[in-house]
Every structure is written in C-alpha cells, then in structure tokens.
C-alpha cells in the first residue's frame, strides 16, 4: 500500500471536502492558525482525482454526505482502489447518518460540525501524532536493506553505519558550504563524489542524484541550489533516523 504522507516537514497537508461555504471558511481559518497546508475539493471524486495526480496529503477530512460518493465511499475507494494508507476523518452534522459498522471502519474518526477550533484541532493532531507509527512512509527517506545485506544482518554494525552517516555527511556538508563561499568548485565536486556512496548505501535516491550532478555535469551557478537541496535531504534523513532510532542519538 502506498502512503501519501509527504508533507510533515512543511506542516501537514489537509485535504478538505466540504460543500458549505461557511464551514470551508471556518476550517480554512483554523488551518491557517495551525500552519496546516489546506487543499479544498468540492467532492470525493475531486479528491480522488487530486490523489491520483499528486499523491500527497496527510489527512482527508470529508463530509459524510458528499456527492456523488459519500465520505465513507470515498475513504473506501482511496484506501482499497488507490492503495493509499491515508487517515480519513468524516465530518458530520449534529445528527450523523446511521452507518453500518463495516462502513464506519473506513474512516479513522468523525468530526462534528460546525468546525470549532478546540475540538477539530485536537482530533486532527491526534491523527497526525499517530502517523509516524502507522505510516510506512517513515522509511521513505532511507532503507536499511543494503546495510543489512553487507553486514550480514549484524544490527550493531548497521547502527554504527547510521551514526557514521550522520556524523561524516554532516561534516562534509559543512565543508561544502565553506568551499562554496571560497568558490572552490573542484573541491565541491570531490566532496560530492566522496559522500555519494553514503546516500547510496541508505538507498536515498535524491541524495545520490544531487551528489551525482554536483560531481558531474552541474554548472557552477547551479551548485548553491543543489547544495541547499542536499542539505535539506540530509536533514530529512536525519530527522527520520532520529524518530526511528531514538536510542542512537543521531539528532545531535
């Protein structure tokens, strides 16, 4: 099952399906205050199209009486047909429409309207808190497959390698900044060459590609942007490692 969760770094993305203009405005106001990125769709079908196109959101908040697919049907479609492991909150009026138990399980929870900051935020934050545990996307930044293979499943060596990744790449990235200030582009290429295998060993394609570009065809004018992107990618991996292996104290 794919996971569409991809935006926690910049604030979670909430996809809202809501037909009532006042409620849309209410929710938009809450989202703005909370730093959520809000995408509004007019129907469950629109939401499905949106997921098909971008594949990115952290939670779907959809009204139960959305048409032509209601909230539960949309949740079911997104999970079973699109294969997205996406939490769904169903919004209901003061009197929710009775649903079969089987149908209720399509969603992770229910929010009562009108949207009130205190309850809506609490419910959505509860779901967001649970995301790292239930989401396989937490390992999207890296994989331990190669390290486990090379170290014959010797976990201690795998973890030592993760620490090495964190410390050694961090040092080299700091050096990249210095070389950039000095405009020593040859040295930048050498450093990129040197750290590229580190990203490859964690099977991180973004880091590998950026190092490849820096070490090969990147124009000098493009290097500041690439280095910046590489630093962001490294920060993402490190954040992920810190979350997955708190005992390693990688965060530092």
């Amino acid at each position: 099952m794919k996971n569409p969760n991809a935006s926690l770094q910049a604030g979670p993305t909430i996809l809202l399906v809501e037909s009532n203009i006042t409620e849309k405005e209410n929710f938009a106001h809450i989202a703005l205050q909370q730093g959520w990125q809000l995408v509004i769709c007019n129907s469950g079908i629109d939401a499905i199209h949106w997921f098909n196109k971008t594949n990115k959101a952290d939670i779907l908040v959809i009204e139960e009486n959305s048409t032509p697919l209601n909230g539960y049907q949309t949740a079911d479609y997104i999970k079973t047909e699109l294969g997205l492991m996406l939490p769904v909150l169903i919004t209901v009026g003061t009197v929710p429409t009775p649903q079969e138990l089987r149908v209720i399980t399509y969603a992770e929870g229910v929010i009562k309207k009108p949207f009130i900051k205190s309850t809506s935020v609490l419910q959505i934050n509860e779901i967001l808190k649970r995301l790292p545990e239930k989401s396989p996307a937490q390992t999207d930044c890296y994989s331990l497959n190669y390290l486990r293979d090379i170290f014959d499943g010797h976990e201690e060596s795998v973890f030592e390698s993760l620490k090495l990744f964190s410390t050694s790449v961090n040092t080299e990235l700091e050096q990249l900044n210095i070389e950039l200030q000095d405009k020593d582009f040859n040295r930048i290429r050498e450093i990129a060459h040197s750290i590229k295998p580190s990203f490859e060993m964690l099977e991180n394609e973004t880091g590998r590609s950026i190092c490849h570009l820096l070490n090969s065809e990147a124009e000098e004018t493009k290097m500041p942007g690439l280095i910046h992107d590489l630093q962001l990618e490294f920060a993402s991996i490190k954040k992920q490692l810190t979350r997955d292996f708190p005992d390693l104290k990688i965060g530092g």
Binding site: I150, F151, S161, P197, M201, H212, S216
Partner: protein
C-alpha cells in the same frame, strides 16, 4: 592470511569493506587518504590493493603509478562510482586489474577478491 590494503576516504564504505573482508578471513589495513596509503606502501607488502581514484593529497593515479613501479605483481582493484568511466579507462591503461562499483555487492566483492588472491 592474505593482507589487503584498502585506500578509501568514505567512512561508511571503509566500514563495510573492513567488515566483509575481515569476515572472509583477510587481514585488512585501511588508508583514508593517498598520503597514508603511500606510508603503508613504503612500509609493507600487500597481496591485494583496493583503491578509490579520487583521494585527498595523493591521487589514485599517482598511487597506481607508484604501485606499478614498486610492486608490479600486486593486483589492484579500483573502487569506482558509476560516473567515472573515463577515469576507470585511464586506470586500466595504467595496469589496474579490475574495478568494483561503490556501493558494492557483498558477494561480488568476495568473489573478485578471492579470484585475485588465488592468483597471487
């Protein structure tokens, strides 16, 4: 026990090579840059050398040239990245015996190393 010199500056690659080669029963010495490698090469003999080409202080080319001059029978395997085709060709022209792309496959590394050590 065969003695292998690994010349490589990436600590993760070093750790993985050291683990695998030691597990295969070899004695492994590590040089993290060209200068350190030159020191080892002047002090000891090796059954096999695994070297990166882009190294601090003394380049891989200079190292290969030195090894070929002073210990021509020692097999050399270049640790390369996929972007170094031209550099690898130059290295072959200088007499290196083989190359392995980083990050390497554990089994492939074992087999290639074994092949050259059996010849030695």
């Amino acid at each position: 026990m065969k003695r292998i010199l690994v010349i490589e500056d990436n600590p993760m690659v070093i750790k993985s090579l050291e683990f695998k080669l030691t597990k295969d029963g070899h004695e492994v010495l590590i040089a993290k840059d060209g200068r350190e490698a030159m020191k080892f090469l002047k002090e000891a003999n090796f059954d096999l050398i695994l070297t990166d080409l882009m190294l601090p202080f003394v380049t891989g080319k200079e190292l290969i040239s030195y090894i070929k001059k002073n210990s021509p029978k020692t097999p050399i395997i270049v640790l390369s990245t996929s972007t170094q085709e031209n550099i690898i060709m130059d290295a072959f022209n200088m007499g290196v015996d083989d190359f392995i792309t980083k990050p390497f496959s554990p089994n492939e590394l074992s087999l290639r190393v074994k092949r050259f050590l059996n010849k030695a």
